[in-house]
């Protein structure tokens, strides 16, 4: 049986191929790790901002004496009335939206606050909720 060795040129070519493959794998692994951490950081920042907006809106609801009073205060704070009991406001660099839905009985004002991610590519508003809170306030 004749054992044939690769020529030095072939060996070098093989070495070059392995080097490029190794580089590509290393690049893919690094980008995957750092890309994931960037995504996590962006999500955390979005959640921080949502919590801040919801907390502000909750403070407005908790300072009001009635649903109408809450509606007026929300409008002063930059909200627009989508209906008689729902208010919304865009915030953030990416156009996230906070929705406030009010309902009341004789003694209790209830507000459902929700922050949602912006719509993408002209589609309907995204269904993904970043943060939500329900407030019950005695009036």
């Amino acid at each position: 049986m004749i054992r044939r060795r690769l020529s030095s040129g072939d060996l070098m070519l093989l070495e070059l191929v392995f080097a490029i493959v190794f580089f590509c794998l290393a690049m893919a692994a690094s980008m995957s790790v750092f890309g994931t951490s960037y995504e996590m950081s962006a999500k955390a920042a979005a959640k921080d901002e949502a919590v801040r907006e919801v907390t502000s809106a909750a403070e407005i609801v908790r300072s009001s004496a009635s649903a109408e009073d809450a509606g007026e205060l929300l409008k002063k704070a930059g909200f627009t009335a989508a209906s008689s009991s729902q208010y919304e406001k865009k915030y953030g660099e990416k156009g996230e939206c906070i929705y406030v839905t009010l309902s009341s009985t004789e003694t209790l004002l209830t507000a459902a606050l929700e922050c949602r991610a912006p719509a993408g590519n002209g589609e309907e508003a995204s269904e993904s909720v970043i943060y939500s809170l329900k407030v019950d306030h005695c009036i």
Binding site: S8, F34, S56, S63
Partner: protein, 164 residues
């Protein structure tokens, strides 16, 4: 002659390969550093204003008695004014922004005249601070940090009425 050429390639090729590895590693490190820097920038961007909002919120909660929190001014600068009484001595707390810092001045009311605008203790770096009363029980706070990033918050005063 051919052997000499092949020999040169044999010598140069490993060096070239080493350079390829080095440049690849450098490229990966630089890209990773850039991404990490962006992550850090994200978190530092709103650090001062978020801290200021948390600080004011805690101050409001601890001073929330009837009529004790108001919006006023200190030596012509917009400030949040909080009053309380300790052993029948009236004290006042002013929170305002001056000379690039958010400041707090806690002093006996009788000794206020002897203080100047930079008497307040520096809390954190803040370019500007504004406070406005939206209604009887709601105050709107606006913070501008040293990078001109603006953040606002609404704080409700739970106790109302009374006061002097």
């Amino acid at each position: 002659m051919n052997n000499k050429g092949a020999g040169r390639i044999n010598d140069i090729f490993p060096i070239l390969l080493f350079l390829v590895f080095t440049l690849s590693a450098l490229g990966i490190v630089l890209a990773s550093v850039r991404i990490y820097q962006q992550i850090l920038d994200h978190s530092e961007k709103s650090y001062d204003t978020e801290t200021a909002i948390s600080y004011l919120t805690e101050k409001f909660r601890s001073h929330d008695e009837n009529g004790c929190i108001d919006v006023g001014d200190y030596k012509g600068i917009k400030a949040v004014v909080m009053k309380n009484t300790v052993k029948e001595v009236p004290y006042v707390t002013y929170i305002y922004a001056y000379d690039g810092y958010l400041r707090e001045l806690y002093i006996e009311e009788a000794l206020l005249d002897g203080e100047t605008v930079d008497s307040g203790t520096k809390i954190l770096e803040m370019k500007d601070f504004d406070a406005a009363k939206v209604s009887d029980g709601l105050i709107h706070l606006v913070f501008t940090d040293k990078t001109d990033a603006v953040m606002d918050s609404y704080l409700a005063v739970k106790s109302r009425g009374g006061g002097e």
